[in-house]
Amino acid sequence: MCGIAGLIHRGKSSNVGSELQGMLQALKHRGEDSTGYALYGDTDGKNFVMRFKVGENVGEGSSSVMEDVSVYDERKKIVDQYLAEMGAKIVKEERTLPYSLRYEIDYNTKDLLEFSQKIESIPGVEILSMGKSLEVIKDLGNAKMVCDRYSLDKVVGTHAIGHARMATESGVDIKSAHPFWGYPFSDVSVVHNGQLTNYWNNRRALENKGMRFMSECDSELIAVYIAQKMREGASLEEGMKESLSGLDGVFTYFVATKDSLGMAKDTMAAKPLVLYESDDLVAMGSEEIAIRSVLPQEIDTYDPFDGEVKVWQI
């Protein structure tokens, strides 16, 4: 029983970091093993922002193996070296936590596949997100803990999706936490509530096509599945509609890109979703109380029906 939430402001920016924190915190009873944010911030769009980790959070409740902190520095050094070799210039560097880093990179490419494969060839290194607007921040704990740890409450942007996780089919660690980056697509992220029952069949097929999986979390499949569909030329909405038959199981998921936000619900409508839609704001979550954290006044909301796919633009 995980909780998902998302919102998109149309025609304006807002404090999406704080808003999403409120929405996810309202859903913390659905799971607080880990919480993740995919924030689409206001940027000049010149540089890539790469969020990556060089190790795991091995705090209380974690299922990760403890490592000597010195290996984090060694991994970071190799990342820096590879970036230099690929001609990517680090414009700004932040190290929020020993295992978690944020780089602003001046790098001119349209295909991030080769770039990502090289960086992630370093054992223990995972790119959490890569994009000119997207930043994925995820860690163990509830929404407020993660927000405070990474100072997300001041992030201003147009849209965001997030996830409060109760770990069921994979470990309590950052690599299994949502959102998942739509590797290797710039600015694509996914959150999911549910279980996929044809995970391994799809995974094997996608791996044969060159896609990568970093965890054994079934939800990661959605990000990779959508990314592959887009790679084959489908639009976001087309890819999501195909997923209704391509993915088996019960699911409600959100996908966000640089300028859009979408939702899809499986054909049995087994997982909850409440949606509020107005001319300037769309807010949705597993429960209405998530929406109420940003819209406390009386509003009209509804549950999307089975097999429904919707996409909104900023």
């Binding site: 054909t267 049995m268 409508a269 087994a270 909850p272 409440v274 429960e287 209405e288 109380i289 929406i291 109420r292 406390p296 009386e298 509003i299 009209d300 909301t301 509804y302 549950d303 029906f305 089975d306 097999g307």
Partner: protein, 284 residues
């Protein structure tokens, strides 16, 4: 396993299509005997005065605190309670076992009005999943939309949603009526055992899947029929009942009920032996 026999004698309710199962033999159902009234005590109930009215602002209360305060007000005889600022909170108004006029000025979250027996409730907003689950008697009216599992396992009473409802409406219901002014999602009437569902709009896929008994009336399009759900003839008696019910429900009074579809159980699933593979039967 109980040896259930069927009787040819039909009651009025059966002739109206409410249910067709006729069982004889022992029953665990207990009927109220007026001669034993003084020995009868329904725990957790109060005598309330409908003219005694009060407001309750639950904005800063948790659901247990709000429910406890509603109970406290009923114990003081308040028969009409207006709840302000419910703000989508879960589990509000649960377990009310006496008559009461309860009005929510806003929306409820999950499990609102669960396990109630008798209150008349109006919700001027939306409700989340599993509204009025296990309702035994009374009337619950929702002015806007409702989430999935609307009226799950209700045994009696009227549950009315003027907007649209989610998936699995009336799942496992055992009596009462569910009336929907808008559309309904997939698996409406899933495994229902008795009672009636009326949907004026469209319904999703697998309507009445594995329904054991009961009746579903649909005014709009049907996504698909579920396993063992079949069409039945809409009788004059059905139409009269529908008209009366829609009027009482303050919903679709002018709706042309003669064009509604009536769906009942095909009862192919009743005899589970039929589902066993022939080979298995042979082996036995």
């Amino acid at each position: 396993m109980a040896n259930l026999k069927t009787s040819e004698k039909k009651s009025k309710s059966q002739s109206m299509g409410m249910h067709t199962e006729v069982l004889t033999g022992r029953t665990q159902q207990k009927f109220f005997n007026p001669d034993e009234a003084e020995n009868f005590y329904y725990f957790g109930t109060y005598d309330v005065d409908f003219n005694k009215r009060t407001d309750l602002d639950v904005k800063d209360m948790t659901a247990p605190e709000a429910n406890k305060e509603i109970d406290n007000l009923m114990s003081q005889g308040y028969g009409t309670i207006v709840i302000k600022n419910p703000q989508g909170k879960h589990s509000l108004g649960v377990g009310i076992l006496n008559k009461l006029n309860l009005i929510f000025e806003g929306s409820l979250g999950y499990f609102g009005m669960g396990s109630c027996d008798g209150p008349i409730v109006r919700i001027n907003g939306r409700v989340g999943w599993s509204c009025a689950e296990n309702l035994m008697a009374g009337k619950v009216v929702i002015e806007k939309n409702a989430g999935s599992c609307f009226g799950a396992a209700i045994r009696g009473g009227d549950l009315i949603c003027k907007g649209s409802v989610g998936a699995r409406t009336g799942i496992d219901m055992k009596g009462g009526s569910i009336i929907v002014g808008g559309d309904a999602g997939a698996f409406t009437g899933f495994m229902m055992q008795r009672g009636r569902i009326i949907v004026l709009g469209d319904v999703g896929i697998n309507l009445g899947d594995s329904m054991y008994d009961g009746t579903i009336f649909v005014g709009g399009k049907i996504g698909s029929y579920g396993s063992d759900a079949v069409d039945a003839e809409l009788t004059k008696s059905d139409q009269d009942w529908l008209k009366r019910k829609l009027k009482v429900a303050e919903i679709g009074e002018k709706f042309d009920v003669s064009k509604m579809k009536k769906i009942v159980a095909g009862k192919k699933l009743w005899n589970y032996d039929n589902l066993e593979p022939t080979e298995k039967k042979g082996a036995i």
